[in-house]
């Protein structure tokens, strides 16, 4: 049982994971406008059903309200945020400044990502920054938190309190490197990680074997990613056009066997629940990360049906 002083940041997510409870995180995309009500609405839907929510950061290189502002809004509405920080849009100055800002605003969880390439987004002519990558970013934040030091070596008086996260894609190539890369991220400072959404359970389990062989599941909290499928069209799109996705044909067929609309949606939710239950049984999986982007309404139902309610409260 970890005491308060042993927490890195003491966020709700950290407490739950440290207590060995099965965590549930969600995901929210901020709006593509200065509309402050969107995050409020999404927070209302997800509050109480997830332990913390990812706030994406110009996801797929499309401009949206920044993760810090939306994360702060989410927290103001009672939903703990996991801020995302990508290396594509900011240099090391901005990333350090932003994390100090986030910390001042009470944000404690941050996911350190490289970022989708500009060419996928709506501003392909912009200059990609890529001053750092996910691993050097993790290390930079870890040093700020644990050694009160800026990347240049200068000291700071009050260090940010951060619970550091990263992402990893068990389905990317080279497959043999994926567990080793996670190890590198752990060494760099990652406390928790979220995987790319899983459809190919056997392949994920194979990856977990490699992870357990290195003992990594004891050094980092692994949250398995799940995306409920809204329709066969969506599944097909992900299979063909989203980089790093592994969507087995049987899954698409299963959804397609239903009628379009509500029947396919219901099947998608059913499948998500089944997968969550199966993933919870995999040794080393500490929680689940439900990415129901623009379908946040499906999350409460899924979390209930998967037997994950009520969400724990850890002091």
């Amino acid at each position: 049982m970890t005491t308060a002083t042993e927490y890195k940041a003491g966020s709700n997510l950290e407490r739950i994971l440290s207590a060995g409870q099965f965590a549930v995180t969600g995901e929210c995309g901020p709006p593509k406008s200065a509309d402050g009500s969107v995050i409020e609405e999404k927070a209302k839907i997800l509050k109480g059903y997830v332990d913390a929510v990812n706030i994406t950061d110009n996801q797929t290189a499309v401009v949206r309200v920044c993760s810090m502002a939306s994360g702060y809004q989410a927290q103001q509405n009672g939903l703990e945020a996991i801020m995302q920080m990508t290396c594509r849009d900011r240099n090391r100055l901005a990333m350090q400044a932003d994390i100090l800002g986030a910390s001042v605003l009470g944000i404690k969880n941050v996911l350190c990502l490289t970022g989708d390439h500009l060419s996928f987004g709506n501003h392909p002519e912009a200059r990609g920054v890529h001053d750092l990558d996910a691993i050097t970013l993790l290390k930079m934040y870890k040093d700020m938190r644990d050694e009160s030091r800026f990347q240049c070596g200068e000291e700071m008086t009050v260090a940010p309190q951060l619970y550091l996260g990263c992402a990893e894609n068990p389905f990317a190539d080279p497959f043999e490197l994926r567990a080793l890369r996670l190890q590198k991220k752990i060494e760099a400072g990652a406390d928790f990680m979220q995987t790319q959404c899983i459809f190919n359970l056997p392949k994920f389990k194979k990856w977990m074997e490699a992870v357990r062989a290195l003992g990594l599941h004891q050094e980092i909290k692994i949250l398995a990613g799940i995306t409920p499928i809204k329709g066969a069209g969506m599944a097909n799109y992900m299979k063909k056009f989203v980089p790093g996705m592994d969507v087995p044909q049987e899954i698409i067929d299963r959804i397609a066997a239903q009628e379009k609309g509500a029947p396919q949606q219901a099947e998608g939710k059913k499948l998500a629940v089944e997968m969550i239950k199966e993933l919870a049984e995999v040794e080393g999986v500490a929680g689940v990360h439900i990415m129901a982007v623009e379908w946040e309404a499906a999350v409460p139902e899924i979390v209930e049906a998967a037997g994950l309610m009520p969400r724990p409260a850890v002091a």
Partner: protein
């Protein structure tokens, strides 16, 4: 070497608009080797400009020439006469050559006929691939002599990212051409060399102040300067 691609013809036309005596100046080093701006290509562009002018009923004199290298003052001396006589010089050299020509003959009007695009390697005849971005701090000794700054679309120091699939980058080129995942290549070569451990060494953030991000650079070899 430095590679360049000729600009679209309409753009070139707009750059020379209104001028009556044009000199198309080729360069017989890098841009000749990448078949874009050598004497041969300068002659072709000059002919195209004349054909267009004849069609439009415009009186234009278009001549062509080439310097062995436009980036060296001495070689530019050899085409000085022709440059002086022209209203405008349309240079087919790389950005270095164009600027040095413009500097030597300043304030003579000089326009670029090409887009200098990369430090490229001829993969096979007529195919060039970007290999170096002149970052000023070469660390490819750690990555099996493969540069992740330019060959990785995200310049990762610690790749590969989660988008790597089948040895390919998640990004495709501007004409939908496939891009090899630099980190997959680095991994394969490190394995072949028996140096897998280098894949997991601590790689600190890059020092970008050595690149052009730190401002335009200058190199001086004191020991070689004339006495």
């Amino acid at each position: 070497m430095i590679t360049a691609e000729r600009k679209p013809f309409d753009e070139i036309l707009s750059l020379v608009e209104g001028k009556k005596k044009i000199l198309v100046a080729g360069c017989d080093t890098c841009v000749a080797i990448c078949l874009t701006g050598g004497e041969k290509e300068a002659e072709i562009l000059a002919s195209e400009l004349r054909i267009k002018a004849q069609q439009d009923g415009r009186e234009v004199e278009v001549e062509h020439t080439a310097a062995i290298r436009q980036c060296e003052w001495e070689y530019l001396d050899m085409i000085a006469q022709k440059v002086e006589e022209a209203d405008l010089v349309l240079s087919m050299a790389c950005g270095i050559g164009i600027q040095s020509l413009a500097e030597k003959f300043s304030p003579k009007l000089v326009m670029p006929a090409v887009n200098t695009n990369m430090l490229g390697m001829p993969q096979e005849h007529a195919v060039w691939l970007e290999r170096c971005v002149a970052c000023g701090e070469c660390r490819i000794g750690l990555t099996a002599a493969i540069c992740p700054v330019v060959r990785c679309s995200k310049s990762l120091m610690n790749g590969p990212c989660g988008g790597s699939h089948d040895g390919l980058c998640e990004v495709t080129g501007p004409n939908h051409e496939e891009i090899e995942c630099a980190w997959a290549l680095i991994w394969e070569r490190l394995k072949a060399q028996g140096r897998e451990e280098l894949m997991f060494t601590d790689r600190p953030p890059k020092n970008w102040s050595k690149s052009s991000s730190g401002g335009p650079r200058k190199m001086v070899r004191e020991e070689a300067k004339p006495v």
